[in-house]
């Protein structure tokens, strides 16, 4: 079922192992984001797919064919570099036509496909410019056109929005998502920005220590993180240490779980906590710090643990914030929204 299949790929640079049995399978026509902190191996994995890095072990297959032994120039894989790596000595049109020219396509075919590709990214009028005369967003579009004109089997994009300022970044993310949907190409983005991952992709693969920690649709990963590492990397999470006994995470609000008895961690997203003052089940604490965002207010609630609980509460016109030091009771709005992980937490703040 996987169109692009990465099977147990390993890579070390000297003594440092960057990829450790990294496996991944991506359905045809879907967009995947490789998400992880810098140094987690995500760029190395992308470069392995393109053939710039030769894995020590494992295989990479596209549409059932093993490409891991092919040279980079025989892989038919589109690559958009972090700073686009446009050829500064060639015009926009020559940059985009580069791949067609080195393949010695007939002149009329080059002209036709070049025009199509420039139109696709809306750069038809700028063909004669040099890369240095373009804005960051335009350069990005040239890089994408240069890759897509060759109709590659997959499109790889290494932190493509890093070089853009925040305002333009959002616009280009939406534009790029639309463009990829129109072309229907299997794509992999690399990013360390979890919002970007949520915006862009059908699936997210969270990477850590050289392997995929969790793979799935963005909201599934957000709602059901399989480790505290993933919970902390995608969105923010309260990690509450505790114990499991007889199928429940013990506490003021027992949470049913399949996790075996012993030490455990409860993961709750801040928006799944409610703050009350009346009686009932929940953790008792004092309001520490309130951050009014606008549509929501974020509270830090001191429950006597090393880390305060964080709760995000919706807000409407005229509502104020709860004053500091107010004694409150924090409860989970829906026990389904909490995730129990075995063991005490090993990551996080």
């Amino acid at each position: 079922m996987g169109y692009l299949v990465i099977d147990k790929v390993c890579k070390s640079f000297g003594k440092q192992q960057v990829l450790a049995n990294c496996s991944l399978s991506i359905p045809r026509g879907t967009v995947l984001t490789l998400l992880g902190p810098s140094g987690c191996g995500k760029t190395t994995l992308l470069r392995s797919i393109a053939g710039f890095v030769e894995p020590d072990a494992g295989s990479i297959m596209i549409d059932g064919k093993d490409i891991s032994q092919l040279a980079p120039n025989q892989r038919q894989v589109g690559y958009v570099f972090q700073n686009y790596a446009l050829f500064p000595h060639l015009s926009v049109a020559d940059n985009v036509a580069y791949g067609l020219r080195v393949r010695r396509r007939p002149a009329d075919e080059i002209a036709r496909r070049l025009a199509q590709a420039l139109d696709l990214v809306d750069l038809g009028a700028l063909g004669a410019r040099f890369p240095a005369q373009l804005s960051g967003g335009q350069q990005q579009r040239v890089a994408i056109a240069r890759a897509l004109v060759l109709e590659p089997s997959v499109l790889l994009l290494d932190e493509p929005f890093n070089a853009l300022d925040a305002q333009l970044r959002l616009t280009m993310q939406i534009e790029l998502r639309k463009l990829i949907a129109r072309v229907g190409i299997t794509s992999i983005f690399v990013t360390h920005d979890q919002l970007e991952a949520m915006t862009l992709s059908d699936n997210v693969a969270v990477m850590g220590t050289g392997a995929i920690q969790q793979f799935g649709p963005p909201l599934e990963i957000y709602d059901r993180p399989r480790s505290s590492y993933v919970a902390n990397f995608i969105g923010r999470a309260n990690l509450i240490p505790g114990r499991c006994e007889k199928g429940f995470f013990t506490g003021p609000q027992p949470v049913p779980t399949a996790v075996a008895d012993g030490e455990a961690t409860l993961v709750v997203r801040p928006e799944n906590l409610t703050i009350g003052t009346g009686a009932g089940p929940g953790w008792v604490g004092k309001i520490g710090f309130a951050t009014p965002i606008g549509p929501t207010v974020e509270y830090e609630i001191d429950c006597g643990w090393t880390e305060p609980l964080r709760a995000v509460v919706p807000r409407q016109f005229g509502w104020g914030t709860i004053p500091a030091q107010t004694a409150v009771r924090v409860s989970i709005s829906d026990p389904q929204a909490a995730v129990v992980l075995a063991g005490s937490r090993s990551h996080g703040h």
Binding site: F52, F87, P88, Y98, V102, F130, A147
Partner: protein, 303 residues
């Protein structure tokens, strides 16, 4: 943008401000030094070709084009200039062909190899060109020369080849002596180049050789131009190598300047020939740099 807060420099401020590109102030010491100790003395020497000299004294307020005219009407001068020119062009091209791979390899190796390579490239500059020209005399010279001894002992030739006192000897010597001037600018650009451009080229389907000629070489064009201009200028005006390796009957324009000035003591003739040498050399350097600027037009827009 934060730069809005910076007051715009006044005309005077701009001229003196070393941080703006139009600031001329930083080059003043070098320009003053060169004008005083190079341009003026050379100008004075060249002037000898355009004045009347009687009994060792310059006739005041005299100006004459007669020595220049007689030089321009002398076919020997044209023959010498042509030889200077083609020897310089051939040796400059040879230098480029030999230098490029060395500079490229320098960009690929790391650590101790890089240091060793740099020392090997620069060390010839530590001995004077005169010494190196004499060394070639020993290597290429007659029956006892190293090259001929080797060829004869291997049985490749029976009689010693006539290497010394030929164009070939001059070309070999010049190319070797001027090699560092070509390698150094190339090496600076090639070792600092953006390798992602080459990866991009491979990714787009180009072969390694294709990538080299389509990306690496064009990107190093500014250094190639600099090296060509530099090496052409020093080759065209070099008189030691043609004199030593070309032999007594071999001459170029630069050798003639030397002989007229030092041996014949005809300073007028020497000055006129030097004017021709310098003028044509400048013209050629401007041509190389001008053509280079056209080729590397993309470099202009990136400022």
């Amino acid at each position: 943008m934060a730069t809005d807060a910076v007051p715009l420099p006044t005309a005077r401020g701009r001229w003196l401000n070393p941080l703006t590109s139009s600031g001329f102030a930083p080059v003043l010491p070098a320009v003053a030094y060169l004008v005083l100790f190079m341009v003026l003395p050379i100008g004075t020497l060249l002037l000898f070709g355009f004045v009347n000299i009687e009994r060792g004294r310059i006739v005041s307020d005299s100006f004459t084009l007669q020595p220049m005219m007689s030089a321009l009407n002398d076919p020997l001068v044209w023959r010498l200039m042509w030889r200077s020119f083609w020897v310089a062009v051939v040796s400059t091209v040879c230098t480029l062909v030999l230098a490029y791979p060395v500079a490229y390899v320098y960009g690929e190796v790391r650590g101790i190899w890089r240091t060793l390579l740099l020392v090997a490239i620069v060390s010839p500059l530590l001995t004077s060109a005169l010494v190196r020209a004499y060394a070639w005399l020993v290597i290429l010279g007659g029956r006892r020369g190293i090259v001929n001894q080797a060829l004869m002992s291997m049985g490749i030739v029976d009689e010693p080849l006539r290497l010394l006192n030929t164009d070939l000897a001059v070309l070999i010597g010049m190319t070797q002596i001027h090699l560092p001037f070509m390698i150094l600018p190339l090496l600076a650009v090639l070792s600092a180049r953006d390798r992602r451009l080459e990866e991009a080229s491979l990714n787009l389907g180009a072969s390694r050789v294709g990538t080299f000629f389509r990306v690496t070489v064009p990107m190093s064009m500014p250094a190639i131009i600099a090296g060509l201009a530099l090496v052409f200028a020093v080759s065209y005006t070099n008189f030691i190598v043609p004199q030593l390796l070309g032999g007594g009957s071999y001459s170029t324009l630069a050798v003639q300047v030397y002989e007229q000035t030092i041996v014949v003591l005809d300073w007028t003739r020497g000055a006129v020939l030097a004017t021709l040498l310098l003028g044509t050399c400048f013209a050629m350097v401007f041509l190389i740099v001008g053509l280079g600027a056209r080729i590397t037009r993309w470099n202009e827009v990136s400022r």
